[in-house]
Subunit: 135 residues, 4 copies
Amino acid sequence: MSQTMNKKFTSHFRIYYEDTDAGGVVYYANYLKFAERARTEILRESEINQSELTKDLGIFLVVSDFAGSLKKPARLDDMIKIESEVLKMGGASFSMCQKIFCASELLAEIEVTIVCVGGDMKPSRLPESVKKALS
Amino acid sequence: MSQTMNKKFTSHFRIYYEDTDAGGVVYYANYLKFAERARTEILRESEINQSELTKDLGIFLVVSDFAGSLKKPARLDDMIKIESEVLKMGGASFSMCQKIFCASELLAEIEVTIVCVGGDMKPSRLPESVKKALS
Amino acid sequence: MSQTMNKKFTSHFRIYYEDTDAGGVVYYANYLKFAERARTEILRESEINQSELTKDLGIFLVVSDFAGSLKKPARLDDMIKIESEVLKMGGASFSMCQKIFCASELLAEIEVTIVCVGGDMKPSRLPESVKKALS
Amino acid sequence: MSQTMNKKFTSHFRIYYEDTDAGGVVYYANYLKFAERARTEILRESEINQSELTKDLGIFLVVSDFAGSLKKPARLDDMIKIESEVLKMGGASFSMCQKIFCASELLAEIEVTIVCVGGDMKPSRLPESVKKALS
């Protein structure tokens, strides 16, 4: 059921004090926050809100696996750009590659696998609306 | 129904990178996080878990008002001490003063008012166990 | 040196999973994050970046006092609006009122006092550019 | 220069509201925060503070790569245990495996690579004290 997909989604986020740490750069865990904001906005572009997926269908999109490679840090006041692309689409899960840039420079590369689960945290079919939004 | 109470509760927390920002000190909003950890530990000392208050009684303890005065910043690797004291105890709410120290130096002073609410976010009587834990 | 000022600045921020907690609503300390993002964007509208204030002038804008009144919680996927207004402008500090709305409903009201400090954390004159940006 | 090392370090952290999200469980990026707290405490056991590494030697320990596999979520009030082990020790970097448990149940497994860098963000030799603390 996996498919090749090439559509790239682009999101932009500003770096604020809250995102940085005493090393003077963005705290490493926060790249995962930006990546999730980007995924959320990709769905919202297709009018899918995760709060409604939970309320209407009783499902959650949860991260089961993630990996990140941090090449250069983002800093206070930077405007970062995230390019997101689906790598693999399955029946109850999908994986994405998300590249984070500042200007044209690649700062970080993140891969995540997202699983659709029910309230019992067991895998559940991805809604067609989500699949369509990502492809 | 308000009472005078003098019992002081003491909690300790370490400052990690996640707590700091590019200014080299603790990010200002995070003092509210430490204050809440302290309140949670005060209840836990009396074997009250907030997750059980919600599961068993359908109530939440939510902050309705807060104020903070920041005198000196905490820094990476500091061990902070929080001294918490109930200022006022009511039927469905209470307020606390929480002083944050590093060594013997006062860094910050926080006041919060906590309201007990039901799932509908309407005020609900504070359980006796919570009142007793705080007095 | 205090002045009356009425200019209102408006900012918008989306609520993501990272902003919420297990109570199902925005974690209380995070309203201070949104308030700071709004203040940062107000300065940026006048082409003032805080990272440049530090690099070029050796100063930081730090919060010395804050207070918040939380009336209704923001929730996942909400788009909040912040209306910010200077209450008082001094030589080395200023205070602001920041109201947070969802749609037309007032969720929270925050007041902060900001002090301009040098690297030694001692008060320093507010740059004219900052005063002008806020008035 | 890589070595086999088997020493296991154990750390414990409590889950607070700040760590959770509206899904009712710990927000996925926060496992990286706990992992870092654990690494920091491992160094502190050998009396190494990262703030002193920076002040005294001008170096930072930064994460270059991370990966996580999330099997079961941690929840509010859980006490998690982290077992950390060095996988590989190099001249300017090392990697660790960090397993997160609640009671005896494995919740998450994280791998990180840490690089020692100077103020210019270029790799710098790991201090012997750090190598010794980890082995």
